[in-house]
Point group: C2
Chain length 812, copies 2
């Protein structure tokens, strides 16, 4: 972990705790405490709905895939420049719940707050806040609020708001609001773009309150998508004098019993007066009752979101109603139980435990990262995963290659179903990618967009956008890894082969066998992962990944031709695929060109890399060093020999089986020239450092990655998480320290233990197995927790475990 | 000339004639008949102010250097992206003059038009229109209108409008309008940009009519520049029954005699009733009188434009008044005489005469081109020359390198004063160029903007804009040529040295001695002239021109250090110039890197050129071939091995003394890969073709260039002239056929006569001499028309002529 960064939150193994509310940390903490289930995302804002300005906070509620478009203006547009933007749209807020004690409004910035703590319970997937408040007029009240975004029902967020008057009896009033006058903070969260959505973009179609419910339906101005949301409310109280553990049952005394449509069981409920009001852009439900000193009152609030991406517009209202009914029936406690069960299942497989010096802080960092990764991934096959998940508006909520190269491998080994869902999203976007390939001049194949929500290219600056053709190979890589690790042949047949063939076709068209490079296959004018070396020829990473994309596609074609000629014949016909293409692919695979520096024995980043001007950091004022694009013209950056992030090195990691002792030379070379100005860089260097035995460095890189977001190293956590780096931390341990690779359908380990640690352990799913791995000072222990038989390789040892519970211990 | 293109206008030696008015040709013809003096530019629109739509016409009146700014929006802005646009602004129109015959309005689209002809008199610098009109009600009238934009008084445009009732006597009424509700046609004339000025951008500050005058003053909304303009009107008539040759005298019977402030001399003037009206954005002067059958009535109208770029805002009104007074005093005829004298002087030196097959059409093309070049150049030292002169709104009226590489050499040899004025403009913009160099990360020196009006970069797309660093060397080249041809040492001292040093400094910083290229000096990530090969390393043209820029700068430093150490010492101090810099320059000059293809023995366009994918034109549908950027993504274009225009070849022409027999190999190579999609290409290939004896090709290229605009080869002449190609035609003959070069301060010729020609002749100014050159089948004849002594070289012969009128004949 970075020694110059103090831990922002107390070091705890499973929790993240905020010990006091401070306005200046609010914006960042909203991201820390954001909750999501891959469908709904909500920032860690407060029920009191404090009026933060654009620099101090952002109420944010998002639905994965739900975006607004704006016409993009360019200084000078190019053919193929996207004409419409896509921005994850900030949706109406239903969390707002104000509390009044005899008319005095609960406000943490008035009166006094005692015993405050807000906790992200990562183990349970729940956010809680507890405090004691002394009102300016002397009332004292205990407040506890819990919130979850349900993994059980993707459309549901649930809140449980408990109030206990400590030194008074009197009126207790909740005002729960649906606030639809919301807008994105584009200028702040994505300052580099100059298009909307500015201002409110949802036009209300319906907005009303009735009984214990609030409901809203609205349409975006340009993308014409419809969002619907609603909330349901129930109040109950402790039986007098008797402590009620948790929430017993629903209960509300509504002014309009029919509208409620809730069964009111035979439990103690307070007398509640309830009424609704609605304006043009908001609606409120007021719930008023008498509170007794020492007696807890509980408000259970269920919030539902859905959109026209999932159903017809006329079904939305009924769906919201039905889903709220279901949630009400389950009640908060049941949802919380379900949440805990889900999380338990996740951690059982995905958790990495470490022991040793520093380990508690690192442990916390790892879990924080895994927790947010889990939260971020779309899991309905129609949505992907934003570079910032659903935790904020950064990068406009776009999906990038981060998903496939950084995040997906984590799910492949821990939650392969989620990995498949993410691949499904890409499969469903093939038609848009085909259209994009035509725009780029390719007569066949598909070219995935560099950044997107709806499958169309949304990058407005092609040198750092569309030119990153490697996205195609990145997707193919993740798919191939998924297939190798899961052995899911059905997926290959149904969807995988089509993705592999269509991506490969673009590689077979974009380059050519260049005479001046000995007839080798060259790919000109692309941008690799490294965003400081732009529009280059023969980017090493791109050429490598392209070749492997072609190789995987060719293998798929051969495999399916043999194993399932009939159904594959249909695919071939549908894609007008000819054997000539396969021949061309083979020639390319055989003859791919790679830039090589004879003298140093390294692969330069691209053809021009060694010719660029050496970077002289001393000429860059310190405050500008990490912000080159903000302070220097792109031409200045591009003419210098330096690298923003792992690029060639990343390729050598992903296909490490193809590299031998030159890896160290390359690492040394790139170590010198890489500035690590991307959050996607250090974790990869750490992994390769392990490969070549640079363990100290590996550990340093890992520690840097592990708490990058938790300690806000990049000072921009307010805009959302850095999902790629978060997943990179998992990879740094599993693929780095433990040396896990699955290449040529072979699982292998090369375990190493950092010297300050006693041990670490993790699980991997591989085919139908679950393998537990524990690495200690002297040995690596492998236990087959699920499944009957597994084969793998540890260092040079071939291992097979052939019964459930079987174990192998390898000295290291 | 292109055989597939029929001449649009009759082939005439000195005139361009439109024989009928056709709406569908109007927009193009407005450019053909545009007039300018390098300060005011006015399109060839009609006095009747027909209401053309955005596809058929554009009333356009411009003042060089007068622009409006708009905030530019980018999909994604970069550091250093210009934030404000500059657009040559369309100014209020004062040409409008409607004619009413007994209330019937003259309109060429009503009634019948006979004997129509509109003629651009290139010899005289005047535009005339003559016709006989039969009104729908049967009136017959002869109309003759002449127009000039004065080379004598830069602020004056003059119109002489003659009306002769043929078959009636009755009321004749002129309504002369000042129309300030004007706007640019940005969407049409520059479709590629997506910023303003959209809509009217001038806010009126003053607008009134009084006496025989109309006056307007207005300020732009954003650039806050103020334009003022006015018109003055006088009527006279033939003495009854007596033909008056031309215009005798001023005359008007005004309603407000004092406001006129015009002396009314003792000549026959008609009884004229005059009154003015003004609205918010227009003002009109009506002049009504009785017309007699057969008796000509003449309206003389003087129009004046000036702006706050030339004086304080409070001086504008007085200046317009005074200038109109002066113009009135001179009268149209005197201004016309002055115009003819000026033009005579120009043609005496600049004209190229040719005799032979095809020669009349080519002759017309050459003169058309020279005429527009002459019109286009700013000559006040504060203005440059737009790529489209002042003939239209194309390219937003921006100045590019076209001026220095294509146009300036023509003036250097024919009107060196104008050449100096254009260099002065660059000198005055040095501070802006210094600021720009800092933006690009250069601690010293000046980097000229790729496109500009006010000296700041206005290119919104840096790969085709700011990346064209060669602009620096282009300016230095033109300066150096000026110095060599004129021998103007004073200019070197006062301004030239500063330009050379400041431009050179950027070259000395942008590159480095690259280890992997044998320690040679490499320049990465620039765009050469070729706009299809973008952001390349070691562009041949750029490296060559940069080296020569450095060489010229070093030579200037050494020369002035020796000849004028004192004043040069001051400059060195002001620029903080050190001897170390000179040493570095010398090292770079010695070690400049050039890409070289050993096998072919040619200089590729850049390091990556030979690696790109061969261009397969057959894959490009014919209708898209000439419009690649409109139909293909930049990445598609950039990844292919082909060239838009002369690039390396241009460098080899400009510095032909440095190349030997490899020139032919290079020509052959580039001939294959060049698409000539720029109007700046063919003229250069033609010149180099002469150098290497490819005479047929040279002639074909020349013919292509000569009538490119006159026959609208690019179908976009409506948006304005292609000034560079126009000047390129002159170069094609003088530098091409006659092989003129001035390198190392040595003038040389290598004359050749196209085989279908009998002869051609032209003049050159060289130092204090004027040399007439005539090339015939067997010989080249040189006559020293002015000056006492000249030395030059013809092929391998050293020639000197040592008396005025002296002659040398060289057999060829």
């Amino acid at each position: 972990m970075r020694l110059d960064k103090k831990a922002i939150y107390p070091v705890q193994e499973w929790d993240i705790t905020e010990q006091s509310f401070e306005r200046e940390n609010n914006y960042r903490n909203e991201t820390t405490f954001s909750l999501s289930n891959g469908y709904i995302g909500t920032r860690g804002t407060f029920e009191e709905a404090y009026p933060f300005d654009i620099d101090t906070g952002l109420e944010g509620n998002f639905v994965n895939g739900f975006y607004e478009s704006e016409k993009i203006r360019y200084g000078e547009a190019n053919f193929g420049s996207p004409l419409f933007s896509q921005s994850l749209l900030n949706l109406p807020n239903l969390k707002e719940t104000r509390l009044y004690l005899d008319g005095e409004e609960f406000d943490m910035e008035q009166g006094t707050v005692e015993d405050y703590q807000r906790v992200l319970h990562m183990k349970e997937g729940i956010l809680s806040r507890e405090l004691v408040w002394h009102s300016p007029r002397g009332k004292k009240v205990k407040i506890k609020i819990k919130r979850l975004v349900s993994f059980e029902i993707k459309n549901i967020m649930a809140v449980c708001y408990e109030v206990t008057p400590v030194n008074f009896s009197g009126d207790i009033r909740f005002v729960s609001r649906l606030q639809a006058d919301v807008e994105n903070h584009t200028r702040k969260t994505n300052p580099i773009v100059d298009y909307g959505p500015f201002g409110r973009k949802l036009e209300p179609l319906q907005l009303f309150g009735g009984g214990n419910r609030l409901y809203y339906k609205g349409m975006t101005q340009n993308s014409r998508l419809v969002a619907a949301c609603g909330s349901s409310h129930r109040i109950f109280t402790e039986a007098s004098g008797v402590e009620v553990p948790g929430i017993e049952a629903p209960g509300v005394e509504a002014s309009d019993a029919e509208a409620l449509n809730v069964e009111i069981p035979d439990v103690e409920v307070p007398d509640v007066e309830a009424w609704t009001e609605s304006g043009e852009l908001d609606a409120a439900l007021t719930l008023q009752m008498s509170g007794c000193e020492g007696r807890k009152i509980v408000l259970e609030k269920m919030i539902c979101y859905t959109t026209s991406l999932d159903m017809r517009e006329d079904e939305l209202e009924g769906f919201v109603k039905k889903t709220l009914d279901t949630a009400d029936r389950l009640g908060y406690r049941e949802l919380e139980q379900a949440q805990k069960r889900y999380m338990q299942g996740f951690w059982d497989v995905a958790d990495i435990e470490i022991k040793g010096e520093d380990s508690r802080a690192l442990q916390q960092g790892i879990r924080f990262n895994l927790f947010h990764i889990l939260q971020s991934a779309g899991r309905d096959g129609r949505t992907g995963m934003g570079a910032k998940g659903l935790s904020g508006e950064g990068y406009e909520g776009h999906y990038f290659w981060d998903t496939e190269i950084y995040v997906l491998p984590v799910f492949v080994y821990t939650e392969p179903g989620v990995a498949r869902n993410l691949l499904d999203y890409r499969y469903h976007m093939l038609d848009q990618a085909r259209a994009r390939a035509r725009i780029l001049g390719h007569e066949k194949g598909a070219l995935y967009p560099w950044r997107t929500i709806n499958g169309e290219e949304a990058s407005t600056y092609y040198p750092l956008g569309t030119a990153q053709y490697h996205i195609n190979a990145d997707i193919a890589y993740a798919l191939s890894l998924y297939l190798q690790v899961t052995g899911d042949v059905e997926y290959l047949k149904e969807k995988g082969a089509e993705i592999l063939i269509e991506t490969a076709r673009v590689w077979a068209d974009v380059g050519h066998f260049a005479e001046n490079k000995g007839g080798k296959y060259c790919i000109c004018c692309v941008t690799g992962p490294d965003e400081y070396n732009v529009l280059v020829d023969n980017n090493f990473y791109t050429n490598l990944m392209a070749r492997e994309n072609l190789r995987d596609a060719a293998a798929a074609v051969r495999y399916l031709s043999e194993k399932d000629p009939e159904s594959f014949g249909e695919l071939k016909e549908r894609l007008a695929f000819s054997e000539d293409e396969l021949e061309l692919w083979e020639r390319i695979i055989e003859n791919m060109y790679f830039p090589y520096d004879e003298e140093r024995g390294v692969y330069p980043l691209d053809d021009g890399f060694m010719t660029r001007k050496p970077w002289d950091e001393s000429r860059i004022p310190e405050e500008k060093r990490a912000w080159l694009y903000e302070n220097y013209h792109p031409l200045f950056i591009m003419r210098h020999r330096m690298s923003k992030q792992a690029d060639a090195i990343l390729g050598m990691y992903l296909h490490s089986n193809l590299f031998g002792e030159e890896l160290r030379r390359n690492y040394d070379f790139y170590q010198e020239v890489t500035l690590h100005h991307s959050s996607l860089s250090t974790c990869i260097f750490g992994i390769v450092a392990c490969d070549i035995g640079y363990y100290d460095e590996a550990y340093r890189y890992f520690a840097e990655s592990a708490r990058m977001d938790l300690d806000d190293h990049h000072n921009n956590f307010y805009a959302g998480i850095h999902a790629a780096n978060m997943a990179g931390t998992w990879q740094a341990i599993v693929n780095g320290f433990a040396g896990v690779r699955c290449q040529n359908s072979k699982l292998r380990f090369k375990p190493w233990l950092p010297k300050s640690w006693e041990k670490y352990s993790f699980q991997l799913r591989y085919r139908d197995n679950l393998l537990r791995v524990k690495v200690t000072k002297d040995s690596a222990e492998f236990v087959l927790e699920e499944g009957e038989s597994i084969r793998f390789c540890v260092n040079k040892t071939e291992v097979s475990i052939d019964e459930k519970g079987g174990k192998h211990i390898e000295k290291i």
